[in-house]
Chain length 355, copies 2
DNA sequence: GTGAAAGCGCTAACAT
DNA sequence: ATGTTAGCGCTTTCAC
């Protein structure tokens, strides 16, 4: 009996002996096999130590852990991914990384993803709808799911591109895809009231990119408020969501008699401010300007911007959580979340000019 | 003979027949095996069509391509990576994604990486040296190499973290690791001359974070210039590379008699501008301010910043190229590149105040 | 609690 | 030009 037992317990796992030997001499990277061999256990046991430690006896578990550390073992994600079908990675496509709206969002998404054990693959679409779609195709297979932030693509294109891939849209609603939205409607109402209280009666709406849901939504909110309030509203634009676009918007604003303007976002608002300053128009003395998003810029510009703060951290965190659910239960019903922005008054708004 | 030949040519590849069957009915994802079966060729041939098409006859090549498209085949990166040992992905660690310096850099790196067929895994270290090191460890195995932008970690920590992993440092020199630097020395000399011509004789140096190589380098350049020019230079700081840090720097500046100040970067400079504006100090009337980097902010702020433009596109592109070489020839000698910044005069500098 | 064995989907010799 | 054959490193039944 004893002899037989010995025969049945070979000293090495034949198939891997060569490799293990080589790496014993530091020639190749450690694998579960090298660890297994050094510990006198099977590779399966080593694997369990990392994935289901409760199934392994404490003694073996500790030994394996120790040897793994000593060898500097790192599981090979490709090998693991090949069998599990998971990349432990999510894709993040942003419409324009240079837009100051995104950095904090990226940070929040990344933090949350990391807490969930996933890495983030970031892709900048450079404001191109075509690039967005191309990139989700490219990401497919490399990631478990994607978040598309402020997409510019058509709904049909998005739907098609995301077919069979867990996906959540940020700032863009779409029935069949999950979405997380920042809704500034009520905050913009507050902004309107704030201006109204300061005596403004004639307003300008500097519309953002027509492909942007946020832009449409904001315009709609402002229109709604103006109508309800019975004040005059001149619609200008659409303007690009850039500093330059803002300067154009500023120029256009000066063609009107509006004493207060709603810019599409803070970046545009900064352009407006710059244009007005360049033409010697005082803010808020001559005209009041409100932005949206409350990006870093909003505080740094002079005068600091009255704006609507977007709950970046929550937007990002929720997006990742929803995506995670979507990944774990593919084909589950899409979720729709809507977070309100909050109005914040600063120095770019004030009493209506007396001129 | 004929009979034997038939026996040797089975109709299906036994090992994979079951899967292929299943997926024929649309139950599983297409693989090279499903395509092979439909085309009556071997999986190796299908693989060749994608990797070494010139080795496959045009006829077969076209058929395989057609079927692949029809089935919506997408190669599995994990499987490919497992055998090639390449992830076709590079890691990008930035010290602080909210710093406006990075977006354009990220874009440039990503563009170049994409041209090289690689994706980018972005990680934000949130200004923490520890996080930097942690993240390169985490990235190891998931990426073929990493770019660390403006690292805050100690040289020793970086060296250790990058051991055995292709790595290029951005804005941080280190003998044994490749680096791509933006050197603003001569541009800062020009800035000094520019101010000197405007009559300034007393200067302030608002130093940046002590862990930043760029900060040290810039301070050194300015000191060198001031000494050579024989002008008075007051050193203040270090200040954090944030808007807030800039406001503090601005306050400190006002304690001195300096009529012109070198801020560490544009973000700090904006803080300085805001602080001065808040205290009713005119720029450039009372004091002149120069920034560095030429980020978006530099143009949007009022007055627009006199600064030093960093060649972002080149910095990013070169970093990726160097990294690619490093990946293809591991253990090759580190490369060191140094690109000059270029001075640009705008509205934050002007004649010395006459007061 | 642990091991044997089968594969995940692909590439790369090595044949032919 | 194409097929055969081994794995890449890991997870995961299924036995024991």
């Amino acid at each position: 009996m004893k002899a037989i037992a010995l025969i049945l317990a070979p000293l090495e796992y034949s198939g891997q002996a060569g490799r293990a030997d080589a790496e014993e001499r530091g020639l190749s990277k450690p694998t579960i096999y090298s660890i297994a061999q050094r510990c006198g256990v099977s590779a399966a046991t080593v694997s369990r130590v990392f994935n289901r430690p409760e199934l392994v006896s404490p003694r073996v578990r500790e030994q394996v852990t120790a040897v793994a550390r000593e060898l500097g073992y790192l599981p090979n994600p490709a090998a693991r991914g090949l069998v599990t079908g998971r990349a432990e990675t999510i894709g993040l496509i942003v419409s324009d990384i240079t837009n100051p709206f995104f950095p904090l969002l990226v940070r929040s998404i990344q933090r949350t993803a990391e807490r969930m054990g996933s890495s983030v693959m970031l892709v900048d679409a450079e404001e191109s709808a075509a690039a967005e779609v191309r990139h989700v195709a490219r990401l497919r297979g490399r990631v478990d799911g994607v978040i598309v932030a402020s997409p510019r693509s058509s709904s049909a294109a998005l739907r098609e591109a995301a077919k069979g891939l867990p996906c959540v849209l940020l700032n863009r609603p779409l029935r069949d895809l999950s979405s997380v939205l920042c809704d500034n409607t009520s905050a913009l109402f507050e902004a309107g009231e704030h201006l109204h209280k300061h005596g403004h009666r004639s307003f300008a709406l500097l519309a953002g990119p027509s492909a942007s849901w946020a832009a449409a939504r904001r315009s709609q909110a402002i229109r709604g408020w103006a109508r309800g309030r019975g004040v005059e509203l001149t619609e200008l634009g659409p303007f690009r969501a850039t500093f330059k676009g803002g300067r154009q918007a500023g120029a256009a604003l000066l063609e009107t008699a509006a004493t207060a303007a709603f810019a599409f976002d803070d970046l545009t608002a900064c352009g407006v401010l710059a244009e007005l300053a360049g033409r010697g128009v005082a803010v808020p003395g001559d005209r009041s300007v409100v932005g949206c998003d409350d990006v870093l810029l909003a505080r740094t510009v002079t005068p600091s911007l009255t704006t609507v703060t977007a709950p970046m951290d929550d937007l990002g965190a929720i997006a990742v959580q929803v995506l995670t659910r979507q990944i774990e239960a593919p084909g589950g019903a899409p979720e729709h979340h809507r977070l309100p922005g909050v109005f914040v008054a600063r120095d770019s708004t004030g009493p209506r000019s007396t001129s």
